[in-house]
């Protein structure tokens, strides 16, 4: 821990907060850009994909969303290499611009009805660009802040970067809600959904000008002036066993588990409420938004705490709590929203515009609409249930803050300056982009499969193989986090490392 170098100590507090502010703002915008696609997945599926099979269209949208995650490791390699060769500052300026252009362009692509199959193909390509940019952004921002920080406050300083992913998701939900509330449902469906994508261009320009005036990281500058930067960061990171073993350890012992917990707590929770529990679209956004807002401060708290007690115990405690409580939490969410558990106020049942409206004793309202012979039900839960759901999501956000708050400092401390950007970006983006990013698609598929298997078994013999098919999707994060927990517990060291 005794690494308070002259380079770091020269960075005064005011400059440090500027560094944190500018880095966090850019990263926040990139997360916003990345997540509006996911937050608008249901709308996008109807705009860019063939309308004849809504389930296949939704799964294709999730797959396109997931494609953005899958290319993140490639972005990490490409931009990480640049960051270790030419510097952190210029690299994350480029990633910011690429992300902004791709997001804005998604908002301008004509729909499937206008240009046919070209629409999903163009959207997929733009989504891939978004993923590449994000792959380069995070490692740069985390490294940049960490290399400016005092060693004893590195967890605290970098935790501000960690808040940006959640804030980005929160702002994406907020902008969508604001846009929706400022126009009719028809207008939003027709063109209004494009607005959140287009707004990104303004935010990116502002952030670009702020970042442009920042200095290069002092540690990188020093290494460069002494001729100590790597000439081939990729080969040094992954071709040399000494470094590569730490890349694997970072992936399997930390980021893999952290990734699935992040995406379960913030994204799968949203998907579960909307697609499995059939809770009203707007209301789910409010529920998730409330939980995110209440939980985000804990990123900073756990980042700060990791400076005192070490990164490892906090991250592993978050993983363990998630593994043990996911099933009870999601079971409770399902039962809270299941109207068959509620008492219907029969005298208040009515018809409105072809839909049957049912009111329940806890204030929940179910709307039953017949879509081409298939009855579809959405539920708007009562106030008490709303707060119970927000609390259950908040608990998951708390787990997210435990595993995610300290991880930037943890990763930065694992690798030396000369290959840091490359080496830390890859495990981070495989853990989050691949294991985490694929979670909504894989978990939704597992639930759909379990429900279909039960339906077939019910028709055949009456005995259903899945007791609670709606919880089938949770096996994916539970198993992945379980393996990561054991590897982390045995192989990770708790001592916070010198970053120089």
């Amino acid at each position: 821990m005794a690494d308070s170098s002259p380079v770091v100590s020269k960075t005064n507090k005011k400059t440090l907060w500027k560094v944190i502010g500018a880095s966090s703002l850019g990263t926040l915008i990139e997360w916003y850009d990345f997540y509006i696609f996911g937050s608008l997945a249901i709308v996008i599926s109807t705009k860019f994909f063939p309308p004849d099979n809504p389930t296949a269209a939704f799964l294709s949208t999730l797959a396109t969303f997931a494609a953005g995650f899958v290319v993140r490791p490639f972005g990490a390699l490409f931009f990480g290499r640049l960051g270790d060769l030419i510097g952190r500052k210029y690299t994350f300026l480029v990633t910011l611009l690429v992300m902004g252009l791709a997001t804005c362009a998604i908002g301008l692509v004509p729909g499937y009805e206008t240009i046919g199959f070209a629409a999903p193909v163009i959207v997929l390509l733009l989504r891939l660009l978004q993923g590449l940019a994000l792959g380069g952004e995070y490692g740069g921002a985390a490294t940049y802040v960490a290399e400016h920080s005092e060693p004893e406050k590195r967890g605290f300083r970098t935790s501000w970067i960690q808040t940006t992913a959640t804030f980005g998701l929160f702002i994406s939900l907020g902008v969508i809600m604001l846009t929706k509330s400022s126009m009719s449902a028809e207008a939003f469906d027709e063109w209004g959904w494009r607005v959140p994508f287009l707004i990104s261009s303004v935010m990116v320009v502002v952030s670009y000008f702020i970042r442009r005036n920042m200095d290069e990281s002092p540690l990188f500058k020093k290494a460069k002036s002494e001729g100590k930067t790597s000439s081939n960061p990729l080969r040094e990171s992954f071709g040399k066993r000494y470094n590569f073993k730490f890349v694997l350890l970072a992936l399997f012992g930390a980021t893999m588990g952290q990734g699935v917990i992040w995406y379960t707590g913030q994204f799968y929770a949203l998907s579960f409420l909307q697609n499995v529990c059939r809770v009203d679209f707007d209301q789910t956004n409010y529920i998730i938004g409330a939980a995110l807002l209440a939980g985000t401060g804990f990123f900073v708290f756990f980042g700060w705490l990791s400076d005192k007690v070490g990164r490892k115990p906090i991250m592993l405690a978050g993983m363990l709590l998630a593994i043990l409580t996911y099933r009870p939490i999601y079971d409770r969410i399902y039962r809270l929203t299941d109207v068959s558990n509620k008492q219907e106020l029969v005298d208040q049942q009515r018809m409105e515009g072809g839909a049957t409206i049912k009111v329940y004793d806890d204030g929940s309202v179910a709307t039953l609409i017949d879509h081409d012979g298939i009855p579809t039900q959405t539920v708007k839960v009562g106030q008490r249930t709303f707060f119970s759901l927000a609390l259950l999501i908040f608990i998951q956000v708390l787990y997210v803050t435990m595993v995610y708050g300290p991880i930037a400092a943890f990763l930065v401390e694992m690798f030396p300056v000369r290959i840091r950007y490359t080496s830390m970006s890859l495990p981070y983006h495989i853990g989050n982009g691949i294991f985490g990013g694929l979670l909504p698609a894989v978990a939704t598929y597992l639930v759909t499969k379990a429900q279909a298997t039960n339906a077939v078994a019910l028709q055949a013999s009456g005995a259903m193989p899945y007791d609670k098919p709606y919880l089938a999707g949770l096996w994916y994060p539970i198993i992945i986090a379980g393996v990561s927990f054991v590897i982390g517990l045995l192989y990770l060291k708790n001592k916070n490392q010198d970053v120089q």
């Binding site: 799964l59 997931a66 694997l248 691949i434 698609a441 045995l490 192989y491």
Partner: protein
Amino acid sequence: MNTIKRLLGALWIMLGLAAGYYLIVSQAIPQFSSGKSEDLVPAIIYTFILMPIITGGLCIFGWYALRGEYDDN
């Protein structure tokens, strides 16, 4: 502790192989042959993304652990 870390190296290798077998034989092959469009996406994810990372990564990680690369000293 170092002995446990090394012995568990074999477990990670076996876990990687078992996960690969499960993802391909139990999941991807039946999904590819089901003919349903909604099965295609997870089959591709399992075969070309998750399986190489989990199987390849865990096997190399396990091999390093077995050789004592992660020993405390």
